[in-house]
Symmetry: C2
Subunit: 450 residues, 2 copies
């Protein structure tokens, strides 16, 4: 089946860019060989997927060999980039032999559809761009304080009341479409449902979920993070994450856990009472850990792994060994601090858990000029640690938070800047020349625009 699908892909590509120049050596065919016969490898990409490929371009038949279909997809992308049109309309490709594989297994783009809603078309266009750049993870930061566009099957009122409007939602069909469109490009879709903070929009459709804030004895009418002391909270989360686990086929769900503000919990008499009972004293990080632990257990029970933001690790929540911790801090000060500063955080994390790096690649922070050089020059393993520790850093993500991004500016703001991150995460450590990268990047930009 995938053998057929591959040839379909390659035919389509060659259909658009027919090969062969008269009176020159001709390349008549690209043969794609998938060597693994394990169908389990091929249905949906995962962290351990093998993206390596071997491409031999000689006349009359070019051969693309890959162990898994995901490697073949990367090889087809490379092949399509080798083909170029000359001034006379002929399509040319140099004789080449390429043995290629990614340096890091997790190469992601974070899109934020809560602060501004992104139409489906923007997301799909971005998935195309990701494939051009061999990214393999869409980190879909789908909900946040500002809006809840995910239309839940069990809890439709979450988006009915929490989305910006009835039009600003992702229906189950939309979500399936994104997942399938991504899968066909070898891209995993990891949804993030961030709790207990960043949840204002959840409260609109799910009464009683958030913690009521108090001023003295009186509730103020405003709400804080998810209420961690009620059984109803966990009943809701159990059902909700059951749905999420089945809607999203990826082996991981991102559970957030960042930036929890304790003020509201501190103001709430029932929470204070609960703290006393649990023996947490006044350490609200313990309450947060208590909550997160329960959520992790819920998600684990559905056979899912989880990703979390670094605070969860900071607060010493007990994590499963395969947890992926996402390092984001210090970037607010990126313009003041040298990029080496985040290495100490990485060191912390690589103490047993796998980590991915987002800190140096917050692409929503724009500035004048060619900032891609800064992103390109990051060496992810540039932190003190043993080889074993460094192996635990499995990749990174370019993050485009949505405060100032919507469909009108998403594509030109993200690309080709993110291409620099893509190459950093795919290519060998020693590929570092900015001049060479500049040439590749400008050509690649033109290819992407076509």
């Amino acid at each position: 089946r995938y053998y057929e699908y591959m040839f379909g892909q390659s035919r389509r590509r060659r259909g658009r860019r027919p090969l062969g120049a008269r009176a020159e050596p001709e390349l008549s065919q690209l043969q794609v060989v998938i060597e693994s016969r394990d169908p389990g490898c091929h249905s949906y990409p995962h962290l351990a997927s093998n993206e390596a490929y071997h491409l031999t371009v000689t006349e009359p038949v070019a051969v693309l060999k890959a162990n898994e279909v995901w490697g073949a997809l990367r090889g087809l992308e490379t092949f399509s980039q080798l083909v170029h049109e000359n001034d006379y309309g002929s399509f040319l490709v140099n004789e080449s032999e390429i043995d290629d594989f990614p340096r890091f297994a997790h190469r992601g783009i974070l899109l934020d559809t809560s602060r501004h809603y992104l139409p489906l078309k923007s997301i799909l266009t971005n998935l195309d761009a990701m494939a051009f750049n061999k990214f393999n993870v869409l980190h879909w930061h789908i909900v946040d304080d500002q809006s809840f566009p995910y239309q839940s099957i069990y809890f439709p009122e979450l988006s009915d009341k929490g989305a910006y409007s009835y039009n600003h939602i992702y229906t189950p069909t939309d979500v399936r479409l994104v997942i399938e469109y991504a899968r066909l490009r070898g891209i995993r879709v990891i949804p993030e449902f961030d709790t207990p903070g960043h949840t204002q929009s959840w409260g609109k459709g799910q009464k009683g979920l958030l913690t009521p804030c108090y001023s003295g004895e009186q509730p103020t009418g405003s709400f804080g993070p998810v209420n961690p002391i009620l059984n109803t909270t966990y009943n809701f989360m159990t059902k909700f994450f059951k749905e999420i686990s089945s809607v999203f086929p990826d082996a991981y769900i991102h559970l957030g856990g960042d930036e929890v503000n304790f003020d509201c919990w501190k103001s709430n008499p029932a929470v204070k009472e609960f703290m006393k009972k649990q023996g947490f004293g006044i350490d609200y990080a313990k309450l947060e850990s208590y909550y997160i632990q329960k959520i992790l257990n819920i998600v684990s029970s559905y056979d899912k792994g989880y990703m979390v933001w670094q605070e969860v690790f900071d607060n010493k929540v007990q994590l499963k060994p395969e947890t992926v911790v996402q390092v984001w801090m210090e970037n607010n000060y990126a313009h003041e601090l040298s990029i080496s500063h985040w290495s100490e955080f990485v060191t912390g994390f690589t103490d047993g858990f796998t980590a991915i790096l987002a800190a140096p690649w917050y692409l929503d922070y724009i500035s004048y000029g060619q900032d891609w050089k800064k992103y390109y020059s990051v060496e992810p393993l540039n932190f003190p640690g043993s080889e074993k520790q460094k192996k635990l850093l499995i990749g990174g993500e370019a993050c485009l938070w949505g405060e100032f991004v919507d469909a009108t500016n998403l594509t030109p703001r993200l690309w080709p800047r993110a291409s620099a991150v893509g190459e950093r995460l795919w290519s060998s450590r020693n590929v570092t020349s900015l001049q060479d990268a500049y040439k590749r990047l400008t050509n690649h930009r033109c290819r992407m625009l076509r």
Copy 2:
């Protein structure tokens, strides 16, 4: 004729947004009255055009009165912004009485089509956006070092050899289209042909125009600014600006004159000889003035006024009283210096000549967050000077230089940030509330996206 044209416009607008709600007072007509009968006022907008209008919205007939057609266009724009659609698909407009006129006569947007070529469609889209924001000047920085996309009638080889490619040019038809599209929106098109610096691309199609640079006795093969010592230079410029004067109907041509690097002139033996003969000593600013003076005289002879960058004034070139001097310096340091620093430059300029302000509004310098507030908070007249001096500051321009701008990012980078400049240049000095402006701006952004 314009009366008809106006009603055509208004019908078209109301066609898109039909007015009138059932069982409510209905507005059936917008009557547009142009009071001046002088047809000379109406054919092409100019600096002294009257853009004031008076709009009365009461049932059953709204009346828009303006002295000139240009005011009527502004009033129609306002009227279209007053009309809004409610949730039931009815179009509503509040009873209103508006007496409106611009604070500054020159409200411009600078587009740079040399560093990156902009397709015609991008320019026209931008003209629409300008009309939505009541801008009235397109400062078309059409050529520069990087490329010469203007297809000259007399000297077609300038773009044949100086453009990025045969496709990256503006034909005479393209230029006419831009001018007419702008005129119908009350927007003047002022072309900038910047000399003697910023002219590398001119040299490709016009051999002998630029100064050959020397290393000792030997020409290096590279070229500097326009060669100011040859008669052939002035013969060329005479013919070239004759064409420009007739192609562009505006009363002004922008002649540039900024950032002339003297190194090449200093290296050239013939130039040095000429300096001696003229008694300029080693003051190359005098040579620059000599050149500019001649160009100004050429352009004057075609009955055109001119705009120049501030250096021309700095170098004490003799200018006609109606010259418009454009102030741009100090913006490179805008992030370090308070905006008050450019006021001293303004003070210098308002010594007899009219000036426009570009320095605080270089919108190609991007940064994270809502930088529109910075642009909005500029008070153009915030410099020491007499009332008479302040009257000489006749406007400003938002500049989007093209180093990092092309068709892929022009619109989202320029708008709605430039709207802040538009309001600053149109509205009264006392309209300064950022909160109020934010509400208007967000609504206006949605209107522009429709």
